[in-house]
């Protein structure tokens, strides 16, 4: 059955791989908290609640199976952040990785930024496949030789060894955020990046760790007057002076760093007036934006709030150009979702390589794709049951009315503990990575 993707409706999504433990008992540390492809799509990084980063590398396409894109296998695993304690405030700082962002590759090594609530780290991931042999003062096993026993000198030579991938922290950007960091974004100048917390956005230089510039500050003089917080921020993909940040009130502000040092005055503000018919106790919660992403072209941006995905044209501030309902059937369940805290879930969203399809997650391990060109949408499920290699994903349907058709799932049987918050799309190909609670699913387009 056809589904949206890649500008044509001929994409057939197939299961490719699943990573992670198979137990139903999920260890909290294994909960995936972020997923990100690098700029070529060769590497796929995940961060988890335990502060670890796992990087998968795509195998080169094999000559035997040219139809199948390479599989992703573990490339490197390292502990990025540890739990810390702020003694001054008597607060524990979680080691959970909130975001990972790759730097564009400049040399043989790969670099990524990973952040928890308070500290951003620049990691260098490099390969080592040779090692020196033939030291004069050391034995092969590392023991030092007795200097008196050295009678000849030799030059050590490099010999091939098994590939070793090393991750080392090159920079630590700490102590710049009072509130919890929710976003990082690398600038198109490849020299600077921004980090955003609830009330402030800071600009950093990748080489400088002891200083950062505050470029947005929405903290009111009296905290009792606080009405909104920053929820996400991103640099424009091409214009190094432009960035956007979204707020808990459902607004997006576009700022130009050329205008002033402190970008409290926005250049543009994107806001859609609230529909008064939909007013409820929870209106403020469901209008809070959980993610904002520029399209690859830089012409559009996408925002995700609790029930919908909106595409905005940067040239039009008054309303989005497209709105897609992710799970409108939840609107009547908001009270229960408030009670079990699901209404606070922060879903992310992503564009495909040519900006024709957008994707976001939902509950019951469902994820949704919206084809902008063909005006189609589809719902898939990431589950072990549909996990036969190269099996085509079957679209799922949720029955909202009284009568439930065969194969439809009723809203009341949705599992709200199984949520897909993080998804990523390969920058060039139709390969997607979808994170359930503690598993990472990789789906590919079945090439004909």
């Amino acid at each position: 059955m056809a589904g949206p993707g890649g500008g044509s409706s001929d994409v057939q999504w197939c299961f490719s791989q699943v990573k992670g433990a198979m137990d139903d008992d999920v260890a909290e540390a294994d909960i995936i908290s972020t997923v990100e492809f690098n700029h070529t799509g060769e590497l796929l990084a995940t961060g988890d609640k335990g502060g670890r980063v796992v990087i998968f590398q795509q195998e080169p396409e094999s000559k035997n199976q040219p139809q199948c894109k390479g599989e992703y296998n573990v490339y490197s695993t390292f502990q990025s952040h540890e739990p810390e304690f702020d003694y001054l405030k008597s607060l524990e700082i979680e080691e959970k990785i909130n975001k990972i962002r790759w730097l564009p590759q400049k040399n043989a090594a790969q670099f990524l930024l990973s952040t928890n609530d308070k500290t951003i780290k620049l990691w260098k991931i490099s390969e080592r496949d040779k090692r020196p042999e033939g030291y004069n003062l050391k034995e092969e096993d590392g023991r030092y030789r007795d200097p008196n026993s050295v009678t000849t000198l030799r030059v050590p030579v490099l010999r091939p060894m098994d590939l070793m991938v090393e991750a080392s922290p090159r920079r630590v950007f700490a102590n710049a955020h009072t509130y919890h960091i929710n976003s990082i974004s690398v600038n198109s100048d490849h020299e600077t990046y921004l980090s955003a917390d609830d009330l402030r956005i800071n600009l950093w230089h990748l080489e400088i760790t002891d200083r950062s510039f505050n470029i947005v500050d929405i903290k009111p003089a009296n905290m009792e007057e606080l009405t909104e917080v920053i929820t996400a921020a991103e640099f424009h993909p091409d214009q190094c002076n432009t960035f956007v940040y979204s707020s808990s009130k459902g607004t997006i502000r576009l700022c130009d760093m050329r205008a002033s040092a402190l970008c409290d005055q926005h250049a543009k503000m994107f806001e859609e007036p609230e529909d008064p018919n939909n007013r409820s106790f929870f209106s403020e919660i469901i209008s809070s934006i959980s993610d904002v992403k520029f399209s690859h072209s830089g012409r559009y941006m996408m925002t995700r709030d609790y029930l919908s995905v909106k595409i905005w044209d940067l040239n039009m501030e008054t309303r989005p150009v497209e709105t897609y309902q992710v799970h409108e059937y939840l609107r009547s369940k908001l009270c229960s979702l408030y009670e079990n805290d699901c209404i606070f879930d922060k879903f992310e969203c992503c564009w495909n390589g040519n900006d024709s399809v957008v994707m976001t997650g939902s509950y019951n391990n469902f994820f949704r794709m919206f084809d902008r060109d063909y005006r189609q949408d589809v719902t898939f499920e990431a589950s072990r049951e549909n996990s036969k290699p190269r099996s085509v994903l079957k679209p799922r349907k949720i029955s909202t009315g009284g009568k439930r058709k065969k194969d439809e799932i009723s809203v009341d049987s949705l599992d709200f503990n199984k949520k897909i918050l993080h998804t990523a799309w390969h920058p060039l190909d139709n390969i997607i990575a979808v994170a359930t609670t503690n598993n990472l699913y990789i789906f590919q387009d079945k090439l004909n």
């Binding site: 607060l91 009296n222 408030y338």
Partner: protein
């Protein structure tokens, strides 16, 4: 799956969330607590509106009964004081619901500033004594916390009316409040804030004791105390309360005038 979407349960749910967020790992999440406070504000608005409507209905009924009994008992040859006294009785609840401006206009008797006097007159009424409790009340305008003996139902009415009445009947106080808001950390704000924080802590300890399911009186107390926070939200709330209470007050005023005239 559906839960009761009534204001009271939402209020208690929200307060529980705020309370439990204090012990969450990683510190208090500002964003989540801000969103919870919006729900709390929305639920509180509805709760107060409902309570106000209920009190209005009860007062209408009481006034009708009082007028009827007054008509029956009134002897045209009775001295004016008695008439005045009897008028005062039904007038009291009317004044209680009115803002201080009207009471000031009525006789200029201002032994105390409008809000505390108005609380006390309200509380001394025995009409609602069946619902009486010892309770703590925060004056949203002057940020003064008082403990009163009677009537928890009144207190919400008082709080709401005070918040609504503040802009109209106590322009000085309103201006002061607004000034405080714009200036930021003013000294008189810090003190009650500490005090209310202390009371908040006290309330929390009481609540987290044996039984952590707040009953109705605790809810109204916590609302009063919580009212001191997030005044940025409150100013908008006060506008809304103004709108709804103006209508209620206008009709109440008509009743009182009718009684006085008679």
């Amino acid at each position: 799956m559906e839960c009761a979407v009534d204001a009271q349960s939402l209020i208690s749910m929200s307060l529980m969330k705020i309370h439990s967020s204090r012990t969450q790992r990683g510190g208090i999440k500002l964003h989540k607590n801000l969103l919870v406070s919006y729900v709390l504000r929305n639920a509180r608005q509805l709760y107060i509106k409902e309570k106000y409507a209920e009190i209005y209905r009860m007062q209408q009924y009481e006034e009708v009964m009082a007028v009827c009994s007054g008509i029956q008992e009134l002897d045209p040859l009775e001295p004016l004081e008695q008439q005045g006294a009897e008028d005062a009785e039904p007038e009291q609840p009317g004044r209680a619901a009115l803002c201080g401006e009207e009471s000031r206009a009525a006789g200029g008797r201002e032994p105390e500033p409008p809000e505390p006097a108005y609380y006390r007159s309200c509380c001394m009424e025995d009409q609602f004594s069946q619902n009486c409790n010892k309770t703590t009340v925060l004056d949203l305008d002057t940020h003064v916390v008082t403990t009163v003996e009677n009537g928890f139902l009144h207190q919400d009415c008082c709080c709401a009316a005070a918040a609504a009445a503040a802009p109209q009947c106590a322009p000085g106080a309103a201006a002061r409040k607004r000034k405080v808001d714009s200036a930021g950390c003013s000294p008189d704000l810090e003190e009650p804030a500490d005090y209310t924080a202390g009371r908040k802590r006290l309330k929390r300890e009481e609540c987290s004791g044996a039984d952590c399911s707040p009953d109705a009186s605790n809810i109204s107390n916590l609302i009063s105390i919580f009212g001191s926070g997030f005044s940025g939200l409150l100013s908008r709330q006060a506008e809304l309360e103004q709108v709804c209470s103006k209508q209620a007050l206008a009709s109440l005023g008509a009743w009182t005038r009718a009684i006085v005239a008679f």
